[in-house]
């Protein structure tokens, strides 16, 4: 069974179609990356899977269960999303505790106190942060909270939309290590959107290169590491990143 199955997926915002006929299968336990420039539709795919872009046709299934177009609680239990901007994705008037307890309340799960405590520990946050507000936390700490919130329902699949691009390199390293450890410990499946190829190299097993709402190429991470991407556009993207790295190294 695949963790995520997309078949002939078209997604529109109003009259504009932004994703065209995407077919994609992400195996359970796999870490898969979608890369490409802004406007290539990579985040839109995540949003459709999470139910935030309801105007789609085709098939989306998560862990073998087809997704409906509306609010789908069963999918929400299995599949949660982490957003790019930790400054924008947490409610400014809610404490960390209430942000983390909310998914539990919605899904009627008990034992909230212990679950929140355990989750803070799992993402490496001290208990003293529990009753603070987001503005009292740094960017890296907030992103840890966002990841904790996504994991509160113990989902099997995490959708990660540029989880580190708003962070400093050293903080990015901490969050990437955290994501890698959580995946190992909890057997998670990741679908990661990024335009940072080195992050893909660190965190993912396979990647799909997207352009203009279509998948151009699907490749293994070894192909990326050894510069063996096939399509011209993928090579271009790789060259843009490598040029920068060569100068530093």
């Amino acid at each position: 069974m695949n963790a995520i199955d997309l078949k002939n997926l078209d997604i529109s915002y109003g009259d504009t179609k932004v994703v065209h006929g995407v077919n994609l299968a992400v195996a359970e336990g796999e870490s898969f990356a979608l890369v490409g420039e802004s406007g290539s539709g990579k985040s839109t795919i995540l949003r459709a899977i999470a139910g935030l872009a309801p105007d789609w046709t085709g098939d989306i299934s998560v862990l073998g269960r087809a997704r409906s177009h509306g609010v789908d609680r069963a999918v929400a239990r299995q599949c949660q999303m982490v957003f790019q901007d930790p400054y924008g994705s947490l409610h400014p008037r809610k404490t960390i505790d209430s942000a983390l307890s909310e998914p539990l309340a919605i899904h009627g799960l008990g034992n909230r106190d212990e679950r929140v405590e355990a989750m803070l520990k799992a993402v490496g946050l001290d208990q003293r942060f529990r009753f603070r507000f987001p503005h009292q936390l740094s960017g890296g700490q907030r992103q840890r909270v966002a990841i904790a919130r996504a994991l509160m329902l113990e989902p099997k699949v995490l959708l990660l939309d540029e989880p580190t691009s708003a962070l400093d390199v050293s903080v990015q390293a901490e969050i990437l290590n955290l994501l890698k450890r959580l995946r190992r410990e909890q057997g998670l499946t990741y679908l990661l959107v990024t335009h940072n190829l080195p992050v893909v190299s660190f965190l993912c097993d396979r990647l799909a290169v997207m352009r203009h709402g279509r998948i151009v190429e699907v490749a293994g991470v070894d192909q990326l590491k050894h510069g063996q991407l096939v399509e011209a556009y993928s090579k271009e993207l790789l060259a843009a990143t490598e040029g920068a790295n060569r100068a530093a190294g």
């Binding site: 390199v169 050293s170 390293a173 290590n177 590491k225 920068a244």
Partner: protein, 277 residues
């Protein structure tokens, strides 16, 4: 190499209820007609340094310096009115995010024109010609059409190029670029930096590139200052960055994943070591 800017013992502080906090703690450097990169993490004081040079720090923030000299002008002694003739015309600054830095109710062309006519009187036809030429210089296709668009009608990369056009059109001698590419895609980043690089090589403009991205700074600058908690911890030639000695710089370099990543875990900075951020 003639000295364009001389900074000695620059300090910036802000009052808090626990007394004044210094965010820039006495930094000194000189800049010729070259490209200087200032790198550091959030809160290292790199942006404050850029703003302090233009005297853009408002009260209650306080800027002091033993020397803040631009082409023989003592900037610390300039009045607000005198500064206005320096800002934009002689030293200009590119900000990070085009979404917030462009005026949403003015067309792109009008905004670029404003930057130009504020500092010199020109016949209207010439202004138009220069706007179009400038938009072409920042590699915008169909400049006639783009000049009539509003900021929300252009993409992020295009908006950033518009902002650069606006800053370069008065032909400043020094450009301070504060994270000019961090809101942009990797594929567009290189283009934008090339555009900024062009007047540096052709007209000898001085450039201060402020960024948290060690890669792009080492690629586009001649010299690099690494800042942490308000002090310069390391200064080196851009090509020598890989051989940096300070543990903070080394930590930053090691924390970046590479395209051929084989490490199972990325090394993380031990923040207690520098008592900062």
């Amino acid at each position: 190499m003639s000295t364009l800017l001389k900074v000695e013992n620059l300090r910036v502080s802000f009052p808090t209820h626990r007394g004044r906090v210094e965010v820039v703690k006495g930094i000194s450097f000189t800049l010729g007609r070259e490209r200087l990169g200032i790198v550091g993490e959030s809160g290292s004081g790199k942006s404050m340094t850029g703003r302090a040079i233009l005297k853009l720090i408002r009260k209650p923030g306080l800027v002091t310096a033993d020397k803040l000299e631009f082409e023989g002008i003592d900037l610390t002694a300039q009045s607000e009115k005198q500064m206005r003739s320096v800002r934009g015309a002689r030293i200009s600054m590119v900000m990070q995010d085009p979404k917030y830095s462009l005026n949403p109710v003015m067309t792109v062309g009008e905004q670029i024109a404003e930057a130009l006519v504020t500092h010199q009187k020109l016949p209207r036809r010439e202004i138009e010609a220069r706007i179009i030429a400038m938009l072409e210089a920042v590699r915008i296709n169909d400049p006639q059409r783009v000049a009539k668009l509003y900021p929300h009608e252009v993409s992020g990369g295009m908006g950033q190029r518009v902002m650069i056009a606006m800053m370069l059109i008065p032909e400043p001698e020094l450009l301070i670029a504060d994270e000019p590419t961090s809101a942009l895609d990797v594929s567009v980043q290189a283009q934008v930096l090339d555009i900024i690089d062009d007047p540096v090589t052709r007209k000898g403009m001085g450039l201060i590139l402020i960024s948290h991205d060690l890669n792009s700074v080492s690629r586009y600058c001649d010299r690099i200052l690494v800042m942490n908690s308000g002090v310069v911890v390391e200064e080196c030639a851009a090509g020598e960055l890989a051989n940096a000695k300070h543990p903070y710089t080394r930590g930053l370099l090691a924390a970046m994943p590479t395209i051929n990543e084989s490490r199972d875990e990325l090394p993380v900075l031990d923040r207690t070591q520098w008592a900062g951020t």
